[in-house]
Amino acid sequence: MRINHKEYSGEVEPRTLLVYFLRDELNLTGTHVGCDTGHCGACTVVLDGKAVKSCMVLAVQASGAEILTVEGLADDDRLHPIQEAFRENHGLQCGFCTPGLLMSSLALLRENPHPTEADIRRGIEGNLCRCTGYVNVVKSIRAAAEAAAKRRMEVER
């Protein structure tokens, strides 16, 4: 499978979950495990363009897939605009749910570049956060959307 634009391959027991393959085999520990039952979204990654919970996918199922994890968002030292927005708007506190939220936000904004607040809240409902009350998370995603719109306009000019 391709992870963050690099080819990876490995032999695993069929029952190995994608999230443990990422964390234990590839040491990509930015993807977290928060609940085990597919309810918290801390393990969210982008698989073939869609946000999915990597604790609800077998590693073998993802063979041949294109996966993006939080480690693949920034290019070198430059934060991804969504990461930048979360930073500037204090969209994170303990940071544990943040990677999952970033990946959901990424997928959300690709599908829907101009989300309403309701769209945003629905789009991240599968990502639980106990620190922020979501207030600044929503603010961050809105800011990221606005920044992206601005960039598009500049390009057009």
Partner: protein, 291 residues
């Protein structure tokens, strides 16, 4: 949490998949995995083998097909939610799909997986029951088509044989002046339903209710039809009073479970409320306002 050991097969064709299932009684089909893997991680389910059909080509589609709309078994909830054809002609299914879990779940979960899992609180089965959908099941030699009324047998139990694969779900087109709606009552938006109701109404001349179907979810082993209420409404011109009567009839003979999110008594009351509201919503969509 990690599932118990199992053998994993990723067949390259439907026939190969069916062959594998035929050879192994304990094997289970893996589609989107959003329901099955959850139970396997809890170790409440421990199939000795998984036959992963999620990558089989040609099983994910929504297409017009004569008198019905055909949906491939591997079509995801997200695709169903965003299909214009479904949104326009089968609103109840569109709404049911949009209320399943969260975005991540809708991205992977499939209609085939959901109905074969047959969780009594699942959203799609109730919608498919009122749409009187038909289920196409392929075995080694034959293929059979079964109506929703027979397809859902019990909790987590459907008519699909261990050597069969559900390939397609067919939605017969509704007559003109039909409308539908799905309402789900849950603690939080993405929780399992405490009670769910789906309705389809078809009006005739003078807005007489020609046909009405009321489906109830999360209150029994399988999605139920409130037939008494349906019979009562048929042939009448509907108003608030009649809808209220029907809502009361909807609870006749049903015995919902009690759990931490709602007592049996509470569920019975909610059945009435959701029946009433889903009927109203469907009718307003059919152009009957002011009810």
């Amino acid at each position: 949490m990690i599932p118990k050991k199992f053998d994993y097969y990723a067949p390259s064709s439907l026939n190969e998949a069916i062959q594998l299932l035929t050879e192994n009684e304990e094997a289970k089909v893996l589609a989107g995995g959003q329901s099955l893997l959850g139970l396997m991680k809890l170790r409440l389910a421990a199939p000795t083998a998984l036959v992963d059909i999620s990558k089989l080509p040609g099983l994910s589609y929504v297409r017009e097909d004569g008198d019905h709309l055909a949906i491939g078994a591997l079509t995801t909830h997200d695709t169903i939610e965003h299909s214009p054809a479904i949104k326009e002609k089968f609103t109840v299914l569109n709404e049911a799909a949009s209320k399943i879990g969260d975005q991540q779940t809708r991205n992977l979960g499939t209609i085939g997986g959901s109905v074969c899992h047959a969780d009594p609180a699942a959203d799609l089965p109730t919608a498919l029951r009122v749409l009187e959908a038909e289920f196409v099941m392929k075995a080694k030699k034959n293929e059979r088509v079964m109506p929703a009324s027979d397809f859902f047998v019990d909790f987590f139990t459907t008519a699909v044989g261990h050597d069969e694969v559900l390939t397609e779900i067919r939605l017969p087109y509704l007559p003109p002046k039909s409308a539908s709606a799905y309402l789900k009552h849950s603690l939080r938006e993405h929780d399992f339903a405490i009670v769910a109701a789906g309705t389809v109404t078809t009006l005739g001349d003078g807005d007489v209710c020609r046909e009405v179907r009321i489906g109830l979810g999360a209150i029994g082993p399988t999605p139920l039809r409130a037939t008494t209420a349906e019979q009562y409404l048929k042939g009448k011109v509907l108003d608030d009073a009649k809808i209220a009567d029907a809502a009361v009839k909807a609870v006749e003979g049903v015995s919902p479970p009690s759990d931490v999110h709602g007592s049996k008594q509470y569920r019975l009351e909610m059945i009435k409320v959701l029946t009433k509201r889903s009927l109203r919503l469907a009718l307003s969509r059919a152009g009957i306002s002011g009810i």
